[in-house]
């Protein structure tokens, strides 16, 4: 009986998401077989598709790691989108105005600037929360829109490429582009960097004293304060790192994929990162898996559109649904276990 309960507990979220997808597919009258085969071929049909999944995973992983550091410290960072844009802007400015620098000097400079820009953008809500107790939720949301409009303004005025009628910056020089990992794909070295950063975040949060303090502040700020931990400092630090990683995702996106700054460089990566962080339980390994899952979902959805004409918005529905059932799963189908504890 108890085992049954547990199985149901794991099966109902998956089943309900799957049922919704199938129901919507039936509703628009596409062939289920071709839709699903398109979906899975899109995810790992050939080396190019796999590389596309990893290209999507990279910014999600980086920004997701950023969000997870914030969440671990109780800093609800909903501003990853804006921080990503600011990071992209800063590294683009470096790439465009210092494009003649050699590769090995320019790329690290862009990295640092992207990280700092994102970090500083997150630092404002961080300081406001730590010093003055202002809600970082609303604040970071507002900062998203300010950043997006600021970039939109930049690429229409002082950063605009005068040779093109469209609002975008000049294309980056060769030395400002991240090298490709696999020829004839878009997969770039940023993916490796993201994996390394995930490992570093794990070591930082779980193997260092500072990381322990950050997690302690997230669990119980008052208790941490009472044993002499500087809670405010940890919140500010985590907001800096959190935004920095999101800014880094912006750098990776412009330098590795787009090679120029334009509107919509992030397709909601900042908001998806919040969900990646949640689905991955704020743990680097979980975040990596969740980022891969969401990346695959996105590419699979695109492929399903090509092969069976299913609107890509189905991916968004599924994503929202996954998070909703993930949140509800704790409550429904777990009753028996709770009672046995008491």
């Amino acid at each position: 009986m108890k085992i049954n309960r547990n199985i149901i507990h794991y099966i109902w979220p998956v089943a309900s998401v799957l049922m919704t997808a199938i129901l919507l597919l039936i509703l628009i009258g596409v062939d289920l077989g071709s839709a699903f085969s398109g979906f899975f071929r899109g995810m790992f049909g050939n080396i190019y598709q796999i590389s596309e999944v990893l290209v999507k995973t990279t910014p999600l992983l980086l920004a997701g790691l950023g969000c997870s550091i914030g969440f671990q410290c109780g800093f609800i960072n909903l501003g990853a989108e804006g921080q990503l844009y600011m990071g992209a802007l800063a590294s683009s400015v470096v790439a465009i105005f210092l494009g003649h620098l050699p590769h090995l000097l320019l790329i690290p400079l862009m990295m640092v600037c992207g990280f700092l820009a994102g970090g500083l953008w997150a630092l404002i809500p961080g300081v406001m929360k730590a010093k003055f107790g202002l809600s970082e939720v609303i604040m970071s949301l507002m900062f998203n829109y300010i950043a997006i409009q600021f970039i939109a303004l930049a690429i229409r005025t002082w950063l605009k490429d005068p040779e093109y009628p469209f609002p975008m910056s000049q294309p980056f020089t060769e030395s400002a582009q991240l090298p490709r990992l696999v020829p004839r794909t878009r997969l770039h070295i940023g993916f490796i960097i993201a994996i390394v950063l995930a490992a570093l975040v794990y070591i930082f949060l779980w193997k260092t004293a500072r990381g322990f303090q950050i997690r302690a502040c997230g669990c119980n700020p008052r208790a941490s304060f009472c044993v002499g931990v500087n809670v405010n400092l940890n919140i500010i630090l985590s907001s800096l790192l959190s935004g920095g990683l999101a800014g880094f995702a912006g750098f990776v996106e412009v330098s590795g994929v787009q090679h120029k700054l334009m509107d919509g460089i992030s397709s909601n990566y900042g908001y998806l990162a919040v969900m990646v962080s949640l689905l991955g339980s704020n743990h680097p390994l979980g975040v990596a898996i969740a980022a891969l899952l969401l990346g695959a979902l996105d590419i699979g959805g695109l492929s399903m559109q090509r092969s069976a004409g299913v609107p890509t918005s189905l991916t968004t529905v599924i994503l929202g649904m996954i998070v909703i059932v993930f949140l509800l799963r704790h409550h429904f189908g777990k009753k028996e276990k709770e009672i046995s504890h008491e």
Partner: protein
Amino acid sequence: MNDTALLVTNLLFASVRMAAPLTFAGIGESVSQTSGVLNIGVEGMMLGGAFTCFLVTTYTNSFLLGILAGMLVGLLFGTLHALICVTAKQDQTISGLAINFFVLGLTSFFFLVLFGQASTLPDIKTLPVVPLPLLSKIPILGPAFFSHDLLTYVLYIVIILTTIFLKKTDYGIQLIAVGENPMAADTSGIPVKRLRYFASMFNGLMCGLAGSYMMIVQFGFYIENITAGRGYIALAAVTLGRRNPVAIFFVSLLIGLTEGVQFTLQSLGVPIPSQVFSMMPYLVAVIVLLFSIGRSNDPSALGVPYDRQERS
């Protein structure tokens, strides 16, 4: 002199149009926040309401059915939010975000499926203007505020009723108590969960109404993601207006006014990029938030799920 008066009247009239959906959603959100439930899903609930209202009005040609359907969808997602945050005690911000994504996906999906093949954008009639007798005769302000459609007058009534509800009735006081100290409220016999559910559902209703307003008063047509961030502006307006319905209305008017000024300036050929104006509400919200340092009146339990068995 007459030209200036006409310009001011037109600007104000347009501002009211812009402000109304923000105020509807803002009032819902402020009731919800007062009870301690933060809902980032305003954007999604507005979008869901707008799409449903558009759909139902297109097929039935009835404004009333459209509005009711829009409100019903809002109510549905408001209830879902309460289910996640009050019953399952999960994170409120993430729940709201998930609702936004879910609704954005659903509406885009069905819009493409239903109207994707259509060569012309389907549109619906908008509500007729009904000038109020006497009041609409006031110079400048009359035509701007009292020469609207019925739904805008509903807004005025909602503003007044919510203000009275929050400030003067027992239920309003109980709602504030639940938001400030749910444990104390629970101890004194106030049904914390039920009130939070009520507040969340009311929020959904209002957001659905806001979406319907956008459809049958403001636009008269639907495109994908038509709310385009207005839900987040409504959140900013709630923060600026400090959860006071009247203040939210005036803040929204101000935001609407900047949009109106933008169109006027653009038509006069003044070269100010539209991004500057789009940034404005958020910038103002941040600046006002900075000024509210130390005088924050956020409910103490805002964003915190209440668990009866947990010691605080």
